[in-house]
Amino acid sequence: MTSRQLAELGFVVLAGAAVALELRAVLAIGRHGPTTSERPVRLGEALTAAMASTSGKVLVFGWWWWLGWHFLAR
């Protein structure tokens, strides 16, 4: 395995983990209903909860802004 393939594999594994977490949350909504207590949460629900505080909003919007900068400007 080349170093490039190892780098790509790392991203594939992490993307797979994110998809698995999202799928687990979607399936849990079907079992427990839409309330977020006592069930795995979707990425959007985690981000929304994080933005309930000012510091969380700074982190989430800063992260979003950095993504645009990293992939579209630099």
Partner: protein
Amino acid sequence: MTATHLATLPFRDASGQHNGGMGARARTASWAGIGLLAAGLLARWPALTVGSSAVIAVVGGAVTVAGLRRPGPPRSIRLSPGQWLPWLAVGLALALWELALLLLGNNDAWPPLSRLAGPVTQAPVGRLVLTLVWLACGGWLLRQCGRTSATAQ
């Protein structure tokens, strides 16, 4: 137009309510127009140019300032560590992997995600689509900050 000017444009909240005198459609059209203009400019200007940096700085700054000015989602939305830790772990792992690849070489042998995405981010159509996705995510974050209910949406 500066980031602060853009940020003062009202944005529709989750309940569909608007504040200010402008019509809802005009406001939505204003934001859509700004987004399309930004996407068009970024599709035309490649990365590492003053133009693309300025567009990201102004539009990103406007959305960020608008988000920080909004009240935010209700504080009743509370999650236990067991609910948010898995997402934080994946996010941190992704950031550390990207950082490791940048430090290992940031070249074709050790390519970070930004380099792997090069064929997409260098093509005008790819830049257009990525910009629209990025702006849609920013719009979604803004709408979440205008939520008045703790129920899942």
